[in-house]
């Protein structure tokens, strides 16, 4: 496995390399070299099986991470290949020519994260969310709680108490108010 990674390093830039377990490695590569790397390791290094492709939102860094999880049956090792793309310009080259089932993931990611894969088959078809008119819901800035409060009917008559506050009211409500030294958050 190390040999393979060294071979790969001579060909392309590997920005980060993590060995998580004996049978699980992660590498981060440049966006421009994704197709090159994926094709190379699929055809020449026997990472033929694509377990999945997914996106991760790094809202704080304004980036999306795309990860392609590959598996080699001969090496019995999983390899996660990740690429960072700009969150504002969320476009990625489609890899559906490498694995015939990859278009599904790209279609889902387009819908859930709003990352576009031009030329990927059926990428603009609704996958899970038909007639969804909000922002792509898997993005970190989509507030599920707010959405559900606005969209769904909440059961009336529910009220809870915070033990600390409740005990203050019951037991020492007339104790002096303390000066506020911390900032309100």
């Amino acid at each position: 496995m190390e040999d393979f990674l060294n071979r790969l390093k001579q060909k392309v830039e590997i920005r980060e390399q993590i060995k998580q377990r004996d049978d699980l490695y992660f590498i981060t590569i440049k966006k421009e070299q994704t197709e090159l790397v994926l094709r190379y390791i699929k055809d020449n290094e026997k990472f033929k099986h694509l377990s999945f492709m997914q996106a991760v939102d790094y809202l704080d860094d304004s980036k999306f991470m795309l990860i392609y999880m590959l598996y080699s049956f001969s090496r019995k090792v999983s390899l996660g290949v990740s690429v960072f793309i700009d969150r504002k310009e969320a476009i990625m080259t489609s890899m559906h020519n490498i694995w015939p089932h990859l278009w599904q993931y790209q279609r889902e990611i387009k819908e859930m994260y709003g990352i576009d894969f031009p030329s990927s088959p059926r990428v603009n078809e609704d996958f899970i969310l038909e007639s969804w008119d909000n922002m792509p819901p898997m993005r970190r800035d989509f507030d599920t709680l707010k959405y559900s409060e606005e969209t769904y009917y909440q059961r009336p008559g529910r009220k809870t108490n915070d033990p600390k506050e409740y005990m203050r009211k019951k037991l020492y409500n007339d104790f002096v108010k303390t000066p506020k030294l911390r900032d309100d958050k």
Binding site: K159, P163, K164, E165, Y166, M167, R168, L171, T178, L181
Partner: protein, 591 residues
């Protein structure tokens, strides 16, 4: 495909003759298994309404609601979980996480109700047929979702500390403090119990988030003596900690200490910046103990000009002169006092009211007076010979030690009493190299001293001689003192109070000692108040009678601390100072 494949399926015709698998009457014949996660049941007596079940519930199915016949008290919020079965997913995390183990599940799974609202219920309070079922998913010791064991605090070994006044508790390292803070459930039950109502869950949370600045700010909202309290507080908060029910409570006191250990006096001044709007009203405070200085702190924040009068040469009151250095190092106390002084509070040391200045003068010159003079006058031993030399009041001895004196107490000393002062005197004497006996009239478990002080004293080889009442002290031939005591027996009280000690007739013992310390209690020395004012103020059992803000019957005069409250500990004095500040402010605003 062959003929065999056509015929083969017919071989199972015989199944038609077999007994069916169906259960005829499933409701009666098919009960849930012994471990089934069925409907909830709650032991209302055990439940303390801490809301941990509400916190862990990922479906937001649980609300905490008041319940009839369940009173709110110090260790119980009086709230009980109400579960919405429209949301519950029966994962039983609420059962696993319950710190008291009151919430469990039965193996019942049939429930028919006409109204959907009926499926919102308070287990235990709304009577159900499964309340008494002993089957179903119960909390077990096999898994622990909350950590019942406290992070061990490092201390000096008993042998080592017997010869030194160096602080015995070493304090948490950052790593340990974070781990200990992680145990907190943030229920907030402790806040009510704390006399000063410190926001304990919030400062523990700040530790967890490693935000020491915020933590210090939270501490200073309710307690300007946090460095001291972080060491010697009576920590009654820990008694009601939700974790104490099935494990060890959070080390709230040590965590407070951890916060204050992280900051230098200068840093405190940087962190807590006050914008004090000075007004021209003047307030006199008698006594620079925790009560007086905390009143000074809060009044100063409100802009008053404060003059504190202290008869001794240093501030801190009983914190300095009553508590030995190995429990509360003086620099930590100075840290607290320095900050208060830095706000512009004027502290006049060595000024005794009634001697250097008269009470009348203060009354005339100031807009209000607050006295928090503590209890310094030792109570009498009430036995023959207590006036002899070498019969020393424990508090006087401790004060001498603080002043740097190392009096000659001889080889064998006895301490009469069972409170914290007695323990401090005994342990200080050990550090001076003496053999120490503690004489107490009841049993060890009846001692008012903190349990840990008793245990630590035992570790340091203090000999306990309980159920003994001093009867006589006389000069022995050797020149030492002969103490005679009567052994006592414990008699059950018919009214159900704690057992009473009764002398066993004729069962007398005696032993020679070099020094005898009396530490059976102190009372306030009220001689500084001139008669004409003392008459107007009310005192009951030696304690000043005030309204809840510390105001005495003379509107201008306020009192607090040990001279007023019955808990007589530092944190109560601080709380008194805080409320008196409020009372004084209101009184002066109104005028």
């Amino acid at each position: 495909m062959s003929l065999k494949d056509v015929l083969s399926p017919f071989k199972v015709w015989e199944r038609a003759a077999r007994k069916p698998w169906t259960v005829k009457n499933p409701i009666d014949e098919r009960k849930g298994s012994a471990n089934y996660r069925g409907f909830h049941k709650n032991d209302l007596e055990k439940c303390i309404g801490c809301g941990t079940c509400e916190d862990i519930c990922q479906n937001l199915a649980i609300d905490l609601v008041p319940v009839e016949n369940v009173e709110t008290n110090m260790g119980d919020s009086g709230l009980r979980p109400m579960i919405d079965y429209g949301r519950c997913c029966w994962c039983a995390l609420c059962v696993d996480v319950c710190p008291t183990g009151s919430l469990n599940m039965s193996n019942e799974y049939n429930w028919i109700e006409e109204e959907a609202e009926g499926f919102r219920f308070i287990p235990g309070a709304d009577k159900k047929s499964w309340d008494d079922s002993d089957k179903g998913y119960h909390q077990s010791d096999d898994i622990q979702l909350i950590d019942p064991a406290r992070i061990v605090m490092e201390e000096l070994e008993a042998e080592e500390r017997k010869s030194t006044f160096v602080e015995m508790v070493k304090g948490y390292s950052k790593e340990k403090a974070l781990l200990e803070a992680e145990r907190c459930l943030e229920c907030g039950i402790c806040v009510a119990r704390c006399p000063a109502h410190m926001d304990i869950p919030e400062y523990i949370k700040a530790i967890r988030e490693d935000d020491i600045e915020l933590a210090v700010k939270i501490l200073y909202e309710t307690n300007p003596f946090s460095a001291s309290c972080g060491r010697i507080c009576t920590h009654s908060c820990e008694e009601v900690c939700a974790l104490a029910h099935n494990g060890e409570p959070i080390a709230i006191r040590w965590l407070k200490r951890y916060i204050m250990d992280q900051v230098t006096p200068d840093q405190i001044k940087e962190i807590i910046t006050n914008n004090i709007q000075v007004n021209n009203k003047k307030i006199a405070i008698i006594g620079a103990g925790p009560g007086g200085l905390s009143a000074a702190y809060y009044l100063r924040l409100l802009g008053y000009e404060i003059s504190v009068y202290e008869s001794k040469t240093k501030g801190g009151g009983m914190l300095r002169y009553g508590i030995p250095e190995y429990r509360l190092p003086y620099d930590q106390l100075d840290k607290d006092i320095d900050y208060i002084a830095s706000l512009g509070v004027q502290i006049n040391y060595g000024k005794e009211i009634g001697k250097d200045l008269s009470f009348d003068e203060l009354y005339g010159n100031f807009d209000a007076i607050y006295f928090s003079i503590g209890l310094e006058k030792p109570t009498s031993l009430r036995c023959v010979g207590e006036d002899l030399d070498s019969v020393v009041a424990g508090v006087d001895f401790l004060r001498d030690i603080t002043d740097g004196k190392r009096p000659d107490i001889g080889n064998d000393v006895v301490v009469i009493g069972g409170g914290n002062v007695a323990m401090d005197v005994a342990r200080t004497s050990i550090r001076l190299g003496a053999n120490v006996t503690v004489l107490y009239r009841r049993r060890i478990e009846d001692m008012p001293a903190d349990l840990e002080e008793i245990t630590e004293a035992q570790e340091e080889n203090v000999i306990f001689n309980p159920q003994s009442l001093q009867t006589k002290i006389e000069k022995a031939k050797s020149g030492r003192l002969l103490l005679q005591w009567n052994n006592m027996k414990m008699v059950e009280d018919p009214e159900g109070d704690r057992p009473k000690p009764i002398p066993i007739e004729g069962d007398l013992e005696s032993k020679e000692f070099d020094t005898i310390f009396s530490a059976i209690g102190q009372k306030a020395d009220l001689s500084f108040i001139s008669e004409k004012y003392e008459e107007k103020m009310k005192f009951k059992w030696g304690k000043a009678v005030t309204n809840q803000f510390g105001q005495t019957d003379i509107p201008k005069v306020f009192a607090g601390g040990d001279v007023k409250n019955w808990t007589a500990d530092a944190v109560s004095a601080i709380a008194d100072g805080h409320s008196a500040a409020k009372g004084i402010d209101e009184f002066l605003q109104k005028r």
